[in-house]
Subunit: 307 residues, 5 copies
């Protein structure tokens, strides 16, 4: 157990030893194990975007085992997926990588300005599949946000008492905010805060832009001259908004982009004190060998072997 992991665990003193154990399982696994940094492979796009959009670019990804193997071989800290994907591999790969069961998911066969995901798994499922954590998505900005917060509250209480960790995807979205506002720095920082206040152990948000969405917030950012120019600045602010760094915040890799763009983003996250990345499409939508190399570079940036 490294000093850094010990320090991180100390922020969760109010949690029970089971939850600490599961946090440690994720923090200590894989290439970045012990550094306090995390790279997680999430694969819920099959549900969220449909199979062809998700897996046709690299058809090996239609197979659930592919993602288990990719996460294991790449040395990710954890692998996150919906019920079906985990049920299809949890036995075969038992003990090889910490698992996160995504407990809610949303498909795009019906779209609405105020989205709300469906609950698709349970804490009991997470336990029987040997997971280290549950995952849950909230959409601050949606008219249905309260339904999601309340369902999270219930699941979270149950998960915590069973010694699981709680990972919250906090994605602002809905009629309360603009499209650009979804990644505006004030909104992303707010989304991180909401997840933290709802009791998340690990928070996942998108890397924020320098946009400012809310009028009242804009005034404060300008008056207080909060630095938001570089990505590192903005990451630093989001980490601050996550209980001054007392909660693990990781950032999504987003849609597939050029590798250098992603690596630069990872550098920004690292330099701003972010705890890591959760990278789906950029990992599994390319051939396995490329993906392993890509993830290796990401981890080396976090590990400091690459500047």
């Amino acid at each position: 157990m490294t000093e850094r992991v010990r320090e991180i665990l100390s922020w969760y003193a109010g949690s029970n030893p089971g939850t600490l154990t599961n946090l440690a399982r994720m923090l200590n696994h894989g290439v970045l194990g012990g550094t306090g940094k995390m790279v997680i492979l999430p694969v819920d796009q099959g549900f969220e975007h449909g199979p062809a959009r998700s897996f046709a670019p690299n058809p090996a990804g239609y197979d659930p085992h592919y993602h288990f193997k990719l996460a294991i071989e790449a040395g990710c800290n954890a692998y996150a997926a919906p019920l079906g994907f985990l049920e299809a591999g949890a036995a075969e790969f038992a003990g090889e990588i910490p698992l996160i069961l995504k407990l809610n998911n949303s498909d795009v066969l019906y779209e609405t300005p105020d989205p709300c995901s469906s609950i698709t798994g349970s804490v009991a499922d997470a336990l029987r599949l040997g997971c280290a954590a549950i995952g849950y998505t909230i959409y601050p900005g949606s008219a249905l946000r309260n339904e999601m917060y309340e369902a999270l509250r219930d699941l979270s209480e149950e998960a915590k008492s069973a010694g699981l960790a709680v990972v919250v995807w906090s994605y602002p979205r809905g009629s309360g905010i603009s499209k650009d506002g979804e990644t505006a720095i004030d909104v992303v920082a707010y989304a991180a805060q909401i997840a933290a206040q709802l009791g998340a152990h690990v928070i996942k948000v998108k890397p924020p832009t320098a946009a400012l969405e809310q009028k009242e917030a804009k005034k404060v950012y300008e008056a207080q001259q909060i630095p938001i120019e570089t990505l590192a600045d903005r990451i630093r602010h989001v980490v601050q908004a996550s209980f001054n760094g007392r909660r693990i915040v990781i950032f999504s890799g987003g849609a597939k982009g050029s590798d250098e763009k992603v690596f630069d983003e990872v550098r920004g996250i690292r330099d701003g004190g972010g705890f890591g990345s959760i990278i789906g499409r950029n990992s599994f939508q390319r051939p396995r060998a490329e993906a392993l190399k890509f993830l290796d570079t990401v981890m080396k940036i976090y590990g400091g072997q690459i500047k």
Copy 2:
């Protein structure tokens, strides 16, 4: 146990000894312990207004430990916050200050004319975190008021049977009343009455203005010549509306204003027979030393050391 605290507890003879014990824990703690007056530090603005608007003016406040320490060092009677903030410090500061778990919260990433907070914590959470009370916000005047009253009823029954106290933030807001009406004396007195009838042990309202919102009420205030000219008059009326003083009513400190304005307000609350203040932004949005001095003055006004 002072005579005054004993007198206050006598008003709650219908409550079980556990609830009396937790009321006493709050009434007997801190600088004002035993006087029957209370100053509570509430920090739910991170959720309610967003992190930057809340904490950028004094960035130390991004850290959940900051508020525990502030409340403890200032000698507040209790510290109130949502689940995440309490989970992030309840173990480290166990036994140092009575805690109130705010069980519902509302963010402003989605706004609506008829607000309704989300339930973000449970009675079981309050017990495992060692809280003395649950806190809950209602918005009389909102089309969704009944949903809030009914959820409060359920939580309140459970909390009371487990020996916790119930603190209700009664904030008129919604399409049923005007913006000015939110703090009009008739509306604030009515909001206090609603909270009391719903079974609150401690009621929090805003300091009322001399405005009169409702036509039928206005007639009565004028016909009966109810004194509402000075703040002390109005506080006296709100205390009267809270079961003739048989329920503890405290007043919010509101947005950050000039110190003298706040101190005058505190004098008005004290002179009108109010039981104290619940002061968030005016406390934590300034540097620690200033905040301690500020709260010290507030407590001295309540304690009578300052006229």
Copy 3:
């Protein structure tokens, strides 16, 4: 146990002995105990109309103990109030007067053409407070009537199995009927019938006017020459509509009016075979001595000592 009370209880042979016991507790208590007539003090106006409109005319009424004492000293059969008011005195006045816990309430800070009260208490609350009955308001004529009927059904079933009596305030109101229609004889009789069909043991309606609201009903009233000219006629008809007198029907005292007007109304209720009055504002909005004298007269009219 008088013959009359025994006769009244015989109408409820389908109810369990606990419910009969609690009906008897109310019928046998106070000045009218044993006569089969009832005068009940209800004080829910603090919640329903606001504290100043309710209590400023007689400020002693801000204090919850005032109403317990008034009901006890006046010799009322029971005292009905919401959760907060009962919690604030049930221990102190335990055993001195039968209590009715009003389980739903509505405030006027948000008004809507189709009102629906909020549930503000439970059957468990009624038991722990030592009540003889639950009270519940329905608004026939409101678009939300079914929500209210269904919630009543659930509460009523639970209350009856715990041996409590069920008192239903049946107040036609909402977009389905006109303002005058709220007290039209056809509507009031219909409201009494609905309450009776919903399983109420005691029904409270407003004294009806001679107006006829519904076209189809009007035809019948005229064709059948149903006598509705005098108040006594109309009361007789409402009693008839309440299972031919096999359910206790009592009448609200309404807004404060001249004493003689109220006394005449009481005479009409008595002469038409009504079972009594539930008089709030006319009782507690005047000084205590006057109120006691006023209620004494009302009871003497029911008791026959005053013609």
Copy 4:
């Protein structure tokens, strides 16, 4: 509400208002209503001793209605019986006398040195029958005492939360003590203490003799010179052993004896500060007129009209 009843209720401040209400119902009913003294009619002998032993001496007593009427006409404070007897009359006599449902009973068709009663009713039964209290028998001294204490604990918690009072018959019996020991002063005082510590509101024991059963206790009685010579002395000691008089202790009338013997015993109970009697066989095993006269004398002794 007399001062004395108010004083007695003040000893139960830890109980909810419902329980206080039901204690008041018993204390305020009947000839001794308001005096703080109680005479209760218990009829569980049909189950405990068999019907002929119980009712043949006065065959009217085979009829359950007989006992309701006797208790009502004699002006007893309450009537206690098992499920069947109460079900057979609770509707017909609803509201005429407070009822106590005996929740456990034992028959003598199977006898054993270490008796344990069977649970024969529930708290739900008590509520649907309109009872003011549950009754329960424990046999300290029996090898099965713990089973009885634990069942009482469960029933008692449920009854208290539903606002009922708890009456405990504490009858030492079993292989742990001798036959004479069952009524020895040290054992009876101990039995009263056990019932009080188990949370009983009202305790029923047998009038104690001057015998001392337990060696260790005997030493103390002698060393401390505890007065146990007269019945009044011993009653005083039992009352002291019942939380220094802060719990209502009543005494059983025992097997049918000469009237003067019973009256002398009642005088002893009264003079020693006992709260009353619970008299079964001496009441119902004689003709009705005699029984009424007998009970009238008992009540007059308690009331002080007879020296």
Copy 5:
């Protein structure tokens, strides 16, 4: 919060913040508050030994209020008693001293070589009475030990999840050991270990003698030359057996003895690193003024003001 209390709480990092809060409430209350030493007043002897043996030496003790007052005035850290005694004062003394509800008790009207206490209270009782902890007695050495361990396990799990602390009286007794063995050093150390392994937060044992009961243990004590000559030696060993001092171990005061004998024992406990005393009979069996002086001396020995 003193460093010492913080250190003690750090040993319970696996407990939730509610339990830490309740441990802190006890550690911080009274004369020894903050020192890490505790003196607790337990009064369960009325149930365990009978009322006269317990209270006749100082008859004021028959009154439940006496013990609340004694514990409060003496400045004890907590007051422990069965359900009845706590129900009889918890409302009146709410908030004045931390309470421990003894959840099982045993009387001596039936004695058996293999004792087993009866469960006489619940975790829900502890919460509604405002207790800081539950108390529970186990009898290692009894044939029925497993029934007791298993009931403790259930109650303990429930208590811990509700944020209460668990205090275990571990009293070796039963056919498995000799009378002298009950206080033999090997047995007492073993009893402390069992309580600690069962999850107790606070362990109460009797001060051990230098006797060695079990043959296999004796060999080790002799081979390893474990120092057990002085009481301080033996206390040190028991503390060691309680997780090397990571669990609070307190020692019973035993039967009333000469003051100097008790004070010497307290010195031994202090010098051996024990955490304090739980002193019943030696406190409440003497006149109040003497008891206060006696407890003052005990506390001064623990506090170090008296050598």
